[in-house]
Symmetry: C2
Subunit: 293 residues, 2 copies
């Protein structure tokens, strides 16, 4: 019986699965709903199983093969021991490793080469690999970290809008647009911010890029500050010997033209996505196993 390999990319908005043959060739992909193992492990387990079944179905494979499959899962919140333990014991596979979403993204982007990824989305984290050593920088979350992230950029825009309202900073088109959205009532901004989670702040980040591209002075200054914080982290990676860096995440492409010239020479396009990375890890870890069922 063939032992299929499964890659899972589980995130807060969706779960993606890919099934591959023992040689690592991806046969089919599919997706399902959210898979946040920390906040809702049972729903995550359901969606991991659903996405896997859909991938096997799309590949024309017998769903009974899932029970003998080997999988690598990349998930957010994988460093929380209890949640990982709970989920790992309830997966439908013969064997599975649970890794961070960052690690599968790194594997997908770089393959087996040394280098680093800067994951620039709602949060920011930098992951580098030198031979077998993987090092994480940043990723401390919105409250005291994640500089340059969508959440911090959106948050900075709201702050700027209040400063413009008070007359402390100059008004610009982007701050005007925010104030108008909150009916020119600073209290509404304060109340929104008091309750906002990082994702709610991050929804303002694309607007900052959009206005900066139109030459808006405030948006440009906010992005210059954000890019400077990304450049500082990249300096740190380069100083430690990294020679190849891929910008990933929802803001990766938007940032690519704003990174300092000194870093342009180490920039590389990712080889593949995080799901490919999960499959590739499954191949290297389980690819030579025989079926035990």
């Amino acid at each position: 019986m063939t032992v299929y390999l499964v890659g899972i990319d589980g995130g807060g908005t969706s779960c993606r699965a890919a099934v591959a043959g023992p040689d690592g060739r991806i046969l089919a992909r599919a997706h399902s709903g959210p898979a946040n193992i920390l906040s809702d492990p049972d729903t995550a387990l359901e969606n991991i199983a659903d996405a896997t079944r859909a991938a096997f179905d799309a590949a024309g494979l017998d769903p009974h093969s899932i029970a003998s499959a080997r999988a690598v899962l990349g998930v957010a919140g994988n460093n929380v021991g209890d949640a990982v333990h709970y989920v790992k014991n309830r997966l439908p596979f013969a064997e599975a490793d649970i890794e961070s979403d960052g690690l599968i993204a790194l594997q997908g982007a770089l393959g087996d080469s040394d280098g680093a990824v800067a994951i620039l989305g709602t949060g920011t984290i930098y992951i580098s690999r030198h031979r077998d050593t993987v090092t994480y920088i940043g990723g401390w979350g919105f409250t005291v970290g994640d500089f340059g992230s969508g959440a911090r950029i959106g948050h900075a825009l709201l702050q700027e809008s209040l400063l413009a309202h008070d007359g402390i900073h100059a008004m610009s088109a982007v701050s005007t647009s925010v104030l108008a959205e909150f009916k020119n009532n600073p209290r509404e901004i304060v109340e929104f911010a008091r309750q906002a989670k990082p994702g709610a702040f991050a929804r303002y980040a694309p607007r900052v890029f959009e206005y900066a591209n139109q030459g808006d002075a405030v948006a440009t200054r906010l992005l210059n500050d954000a890019a400077a914080s990304v450049d500082e982290a990249l300096d740190c990676l380069v100083a430690r010997g990294t020679r190849t860096i891929c910008l990933l995440g929802g803001l990766g492409t938007l940032y690519s033209s704003r990174i300092a010239p000194r870093h342009q020479k180490v920039m590389a396009l990712p080889e593949g996505d995080a799901l490919t990375g999960a499959v590739s890890l499954a191949v290297s870890r389980f690819g030579r196993l025989k079926a035990i069922v």
Copy 2:
């Protein structure tokens, strides 16, 4: 029967009361426990009454005179209508006005002159008065405002310590001291920050001033950034015609030497404190009334 005038300065840690004769001369002062009308109005009412009784007692006055007294209260959260209404209807005085803690601080600092106060404590707010017009700048709270405040300075120190831990910024004595306090475990900083209220961040601010005074580069940079944000707000006041500014609040004195040279000429020492200001407002509003009891 003499109508006594009462000033109340109600804050989150204590409530201060002063009683004055109809001429405004303060006869005695006293204090009691916290009086936050927003978070705990009943305790606030108790402590307002306690502090008032203690002041009348210290002045050798009959406590029955409280019922005919007129008062001005300065409280945090005075802009929340329901809480003000609830408290105002349950005060022991014949008549009382509830004002912001900032307004009584302004009155205490400037007397009846035009000018402004920068209240630099856990939060920051700027209040200016030109004849009868009082204008507020800032004071939007920790989440999207309060630049230069103790909470923001303490928060910035924790962020810096994580950046130093990651090797993104240079380590210095002040970041080393923070990391040591959290057992060199960045996760403990993240967890602390996730739960910290502004006051908890603000407790780190004096350390930043202390290390900056010893020449620490990181502490100095953090304070330069904070002072720049205060200077921007002062620029705004000056541009609108303010010619006298008092720095108040727990950080007021610490900031006085860090304010830009361009502002030193408008700096003035406060005439009196917030409690004096509350009494002075009580005198101007109620000082000529006759007893109605």
